[in-house]
C-alpha cells in the first residue's frame, strides 16, 4: 500500500521550481500553464504538460517554419499532420510513409534504441490502415576512430535488423555515414513505407460522443517515462542518470498488433486510431481529442499494467512500446475484442469521448487530473526563435599548391573510405527479400518494391548531405532534395513526394536556428520547383553535447512511382561496347568535395551550386528516355564525382568502361572529382544513339559522349586502368577489417 500512498501524496505534492525544471519546463511556461488551468497543476498534470509541451511533441521551435514547406500536389492524399503522409499511386492504391528519429535513445542503448525506432515508425504506418512493405534507415556515426563508434554501429545495425527481420518487413535501403560531428550524438532515423487501398485509410481524428476508447497491445510498464523529454534535452554528463528510461522493443508483439489492427480494419469498426508513441497514452489521447474537438475521459484503473502499483503519473507518461489507442463505433467491442483475443493481445475499453473538451483522468473513482485539451495542443507554446544567417565564402583552392597525387591514388582513397565503402556488411544483416516483392535491393540509387499482385512498383531512397548543409544551409537543403529526386529517377521512377527528418542541434542557439531556417528554405524551394511535396516528417533538435552541436542534417526520404515495371533499372553496366553519356554540365566544383576531404582533409568552401531549372529539365528528360526504354543503366553523380560514379557502375557489374579525357575542361581532377549537381551517367546501345541525342537536343540538355563500356577493366585513357576485381576489393575491405 506504500506506493498508493506515494501516488496520492505525489499528486498533492507542492510543485517547486526544481520539479518544474526536472520536467524540462521553463518557469515562464509554468506560469502559462497556471494561466491556462486557472490554478496550480498537480504533479500528474504537470507531467502531462511537460510531455505535451516539450519540443518532441509540440514542435514549439519548428512549427512556424514548418508551415512554410511545400506540401501540396495532386498526388497528395494526406500531408503533414497525420501519423504518416499518404500519396496516390493510381488504381485505388496509395502509399503511406514517414521517417522518424530515434537518436538519443540509440546513443544510450544502441540495440534497443534503434529497434524501438523501427517499431515506432512502423506503427505510424499501419495505424493508417497500410500494410508496411518496406523499411529504410539513415544512420550517422562519429568518426570510425572514436572509441564508441564500433559498438554503436554494431548495436544500431543489429537493432534495426532485429526488429525488421522479426516482424517480416524488408529493410531495403538506407545510408550509413561517419563524421566526427556525431561522436557524442549519433543519428538513427528510420523510415517505413506502407501500401493501402485509397478508400481504406484510417485517421486519428476522433468523432462522436460517448464512443469507447480502447487500449490494445502490450501492457504498460515503467519504461521510457520521460523519454519524450529526454529526446528533447541536450546530452550532458548527467544523462547517464537518465538511463533506465530506455524502452525494450518486442517485435513479436508488434507483429501480432499489426496483424490484429489490419484485421480489424477490414470492416467499419474503427472511428479513429492512433499509436502510442512518444509520451504514450498522453499524446495519443490528446491528439485524437484535439483533432476531433472533443473531450476524452480515461479510467486509469483499467489500463493493463505490467508492473504492480503503477501510478496514474507513470501510466500517462510511460513509453512502453507496441500499444495503440482506438475509438470504436458503437456495439463493435465484442467483435473487435475477438480479433485481439485471437492474437493474444490486451483489449480494454479504458474510456470514452466526451463533450467537455477536457482530458479527464479518473483513478479509483476519483478525478485525479483534468486539463482542457486545447491547453495541451493548440495552446502549447510556439517560439519564433532568433536566428542568424550563415555567411560563407568561396575558398579559392589552387590545386598547384597541394601535394601532387595521381588520379588513381585519389580514387582508391575515396573508394576505400568508410563513407564510400560498400555497405553489404550492413545490408546483409537485414532481410531484404521477405514479402517477395523486393525487385531491387539496396546497392543501387534506390530500392524498388513491387506493389503486391500488380505490375507497378515504387522506388524508395533516403539521402542527406550534412557537409553541404553545414557550409551553406540553403544550398544544402536544396541539394538533398535534388539528390533524392535524382536517385528515384535513375531507377526509372517518377518522383512523387518526400518525408523529412530534420536533425539539428540546440534551437536556442542562434546559429543552429539559422541553419534550421535556411535548410528548410532550401528544401522548400527545391520541393516547390520540382513539384515534389513534403507529406510527413519529424524534427529532432538538441542533437549535441555540452554546446557542441551536430552538423545540420536534414534527411530526406523519397518515394517514386514506376507505372509499369518490366525490368528494374539500376547502375550496373549491362554489356560491352555500349555508349556512355554524361548528362549535365561539368564545371569542376571541388570545394566541399570528397576529393579534398579524403585526400587533403580540406573542409572549407561552398557546396556546389544548385540550378533547379537544369535539375528539373535533366531529370524529366531522363524519365522520357527511360520510358522509351532507351537506357540500359543509369547512375546519378554525387559525392566523389564522375569517376566515383563510373567506378560504382563497374564494381556492381561484370563490365568496366573506357573513358576519354575531357575535351574542354583541362584539369583532370576538377573534371573527374568535381561534384557539380544535376548530372547523370547513362549507358545506351550504340544503335540508339541518334534517337537519344535527338531527345536530348530537343530538350536542350547538355551532354557529353564520354566513352564506352568494355570487359572487366575500368580505364581512363592514358591515366589509369584498374580491373573490376581490384575495384571491388578496394571498395569492400573497410567494413570487413573494421
Amino acid at each position: 500500500m506504500e506506493s498508493t500512498c506515494f501516488q496520492v501524496c505525489s499528486i498533492k505534492m507542492k510543485i517547486t521550481n526544481q520539479i518544474i525544471e526536472k520536467h524540462g519546463l521553463k518557469l515562464e511556461e509554468f506560469k502559462n500553464i497556471k494561466k491556462l488551468l486557472k490554478r496550480e497543476p498537480n504533479l500528474l498534470e504537470l507531467g502531462i504538460f511537460s510531455a505535451m509541451w516539450n519540443e518532441h511533441c509540440s514542435y514549439k521551435s519548428s512549427r512556424v517554419h514548418l508551415k512554410k514547406l511545400h506540401t501540396k500536389g495532386k498526388q497528395v492524399i494526406q500531408g503533414p499532420g497525420e501519423n504518416a503522409g499518404v500519396i496516390d499511386i493510381g488504381d485505388n492504391d496509395a502509399i503511406v510513409f514517414k521517417i522518424e528519429s530515434h537518436n538519443h535513445p540509440s546513443y544510450i542503448e544502441p540495440f534497443q534504441g534503434a529497434a524501438t525506432g523501427v517499431g515506432g515508425i512502423l506503427r505510424d504506418v499501419f495505424t493508417m490502415g497500410a500494410r508496411p512493405i518496406a523499411l529504410l534507415n539513415s544512420i550517422h556515426f562519429g568518426s570510425p576512430e572514436h572509441s564508441k563508434t564500433k559498438s554503436l554501429l554494431n548495436g544500431v545495425v543489429s537493432g534495426i535488423g532485429g526488429y525488421g527481420n522479426c516482424i517480416g518487413i524488408p529493410t531495403v535501403a538506407g545510408e550509413t555515414k561517419f563524421n566526427e560531428t556525431y561522436n557524442e550524438n549519433i543519428l538513427v532515423n528510420a523510415m517505413a513505407v506502407g501500401h493501402v487501398k485509397k478508400d481504406k485509410i484510417f485517421y486519428s481524428k476522433a468523432k462522436g460522443l460517448n464512443k469507447s476508447v480502447v487500449y490494445v497491445g502490450s501492457k504498460t510498464g515503467r519504461d521510457g517515462i520521460h523519454g519524450a523529454s529526454m529526446a528533447s534535452a541536450e546530452f550532458d554528463e548527467s544523462s547517464a542518470g537518465k538511463k533506465p528510461t530506455v524502452q525494450v522493443g518486442d517485435p513479436f508483439t508488434e507483429k501480432l498488433l499489426m496483424e490484429a489492427c489490419l484485421e480489424l480494419m477490414k470492416d467499419n469498426s474503427i472511428i479513429s486510431i492512433q499509436d502510442m508513441g512518444a509520451a504514450g497514452l498522453t499524446s495519443s489521447s490528446v491528439e485524437m481529442a484535439s483533432k476531433g474537438e472533443l473531450g476524452i475521459e480515461l479510467e486509469l484503473d483499467k489500463v493493463p499494467c505490467r508492473e504492480e502499483n503503477m501510478t496514474p503519473y507513470e501510466m500517462m507518461l510511460s513509453e512502453s512500446q507496441e500499444r495503440m489507442l482506438i475509438i470504436l463505433e458503437d456495439k463493435k467491442e465484442q467483435k473487435a475484442k475477438k480479433i485481439f483475443d485471437k492474437w493474444d493481445l490486451d483489449f480494454v475499453v479504458i474510456g470514452r469521448t466526451t463533450n467537455t473538451n477536457n482530458l479527464t483522468l479518473k483513478f479509483n473513482n476519483k478525478i485525479v487530473g483534468e486539463i482542457p485539451i486545447e491547453a495541451l495542443a493548440s495552446k502549447a507554446p510556439v517560439y519564433d526563435r532568433q536566428w542568424i544567417k550563415k555567411v560563407n565564402k568561396k575558398k579559392e583552392i589552387n590545386l598547384k599548391d597541394l601535394k601532387k597525387i595521381k588520379i588513381e591514388e585519389a580514387l582508391i582513397k575515396i573508394l576505400s573510405s568508410p563513407n564510400h565503402s560498400n555497405k553489404s556488411w550492413v545490408t546483409n544483416q537485414y532481410d531484404q527479400s521477405v514479402m517477395c516483392d523486393t525487385v531491387q535491393k539496396s546497392g543501387s540509387d534506390a530500392a524498388i518494391i513491387r506493389i503486391h499482385n500488380k505490375d507497378k512498383a515504387i522506388a524508395v531512397t533516403v539521402d542527406s548531405s550534412a557537409n553541404y548543409c553545414k557550409s551553406h544551409p540553403i544550398t544544402g537543403g536544396k541539394q538533398v532534395v535534388c539528390e533524392n529526386w535524382r536517385n528515384l529517377i535513375t531507377v526509372g521512377a517518377k518522383p512523387l513526394a518526400i518525408t523529412n527528418c530534420l536533425n539539428f542541434g540546440n534551437p536556442e542557439n542562434k546559429e543552429v536556428m539559422g541553419e534550421f531556417v535556411e535548410c528548410l528554405q532550401g528544401i522548400k524551394e527545391a520541393c516547390e520547383f520540382l513539384g515534389f511535396p513534403v507529406v510527413s516528417g519529424n524534427v529532432s533538435f538538441y542533437n549535441g553535447t555540452n554546446n557542441k552541436n551536430i552538423y545540420p542534417t536534414p534527411v530526406i526520404g523519397g518515394v517514386g512511382l514506376i507505372k509499369k515495371l518490366s525490368y528494374p533499372l539500376n547502375h550496373s553496366f549491362k554489356k560491352e561496347n555500349n555508349i556512355l553519356l554524361l548528362i549535365g554540365k561539368t564545371f569542376g566544383h571541388l570545394e566541399q568535395s570528397c576529393f579534398l576531404k579524403e585526400n587533403y582533409s580540406i573542409n572549407e568552401g561552398m557546396p556546389p551550386e544548385i540550378n533547379l531549372l537544369n535539375e528539373k529539365n535533366n531529370g524529366e528528360t531522363l524519365i522520357k528516355l527511360i520510358e522509351k526504354n532507351l537506357i540500359l543503366s543509369s547512375h546519378d553523380i554525387s559525392n566523389g564525382g564522375l569517376i566515383t560514379a563510373l567506378s560504382e557502375m563497374s564494381i556492381s557489374s561484370n563490365y568496366g568502361a573506357k573513358i576519354q579525357k575531357p575535351k574542354k575542361l583541362t584539369n583532370l581532377f576538377k573534371y573527374f572529382f568535381g561534384e557539380d549537381q544535376a548530372r547523370y551517367i547513362i549507358e545506351i546501345d550504340t544503335d540508339n544513339l541518334p534517337k537519344v541525342e535527338k531527345i536530348l537536343k530537343d530538350n536542350n540538355i547538355y551532354y557529353e559522349n564520354i566513352g564506352y563500356t568494355q570487359k572487366k577493366y575500368f580505364e581512363i585513357e592514358g591515366e589509369l586502368r584498374i580491373s573490376n576485381k581490384d575495384l571491388f576489393k578496394i571498395n569492400n575491405e573497410w567494413y570487413n577489417s573494421y
Binding site: 527481420n165 522479426c166 516482424i167 513479436f252 507483429k255 546483409n428 532481410d431 527479400s433 521477405v434 517477395c436
Partner: protein, 225 residues
Amino acid sequence: MKSSVIVFPGSNCDRDIAIALEKMQFKNQMVWHKETKLPKTDLIVVPGGFSYGDYLRSGAIAGKSFIIDEVIKAANLGCLVLGICNGFQILTETGLLKGTLLKNKNLKFINKDVNLKVMNNYTRFTNKYKKEKILKINIAHNEGNFFTDANHIEELKKENLIAFKYCDEKGNINEDSNPNGSLDNIAGIFNTNKNILGMMPHPERMVDELISNKDGVNLFSSLFN
C-alpha cells in the same frame, strides 16, 4: 495436390510460401496454430519467420503448439512435410528431424543469395533437379548453423539424407562457401523416410524471375511426381 501452410504467431513467410505454392498449382490452405485438426492434405509446410519472436530458442515454442501434434501424426503416416528456415528449426524442436540449428558462426543475421548443391535428387522433393545441380537461393536467418551428433552425421551420409549443401559458384564445398558454420556445409536434410525435408534457404523466394530467379521452382514441381 493439396498443401497446408501452418501459421504461427510471428510466422512471416507464410504469405510468400502460399503464393509460391499457388503459382505452382497447389490447392493451398492456411492453418492457424490454434486449430486442433489438420485438413486433408498432401503436403504440410512449416514456413519461415520468427514464430513466437524466436524467443527461448528459435522454433522451441512453436514446437509445443496444438497443431504440431497433428503435424507429427501426419508426418509419421507418411504425409510430405517441408520446413523452411524457422520451419526447419521447428521440425528439429519437435524431433521430426534430428539435429539442431545454432547461431550463425559470425553471430549476425545473414541475408544473401548463396549457392547450394543438390546432394540427392532421388526424393519426392528434389527429383526434378539434375544431380549435383548448383542453385542460387536466398538465406535469411540468425540460427542456421546446423549441428548434430556423430551418429546422426554418419546416418545422414550413409542413408543419403543430405538434401543440399552450401557451395560456391563452381560447386566447391568448403569453409569459404559455408555462410553460417553448418556442419559439413549442410543446408537441408531429410528424415529417414525422406518424406520430411528441412532446409534453411528459402525456395519460395526463388520462383519469380523479376525479383530473383527460378531456382526454387523444381522443388515444388518435384512434389507432383
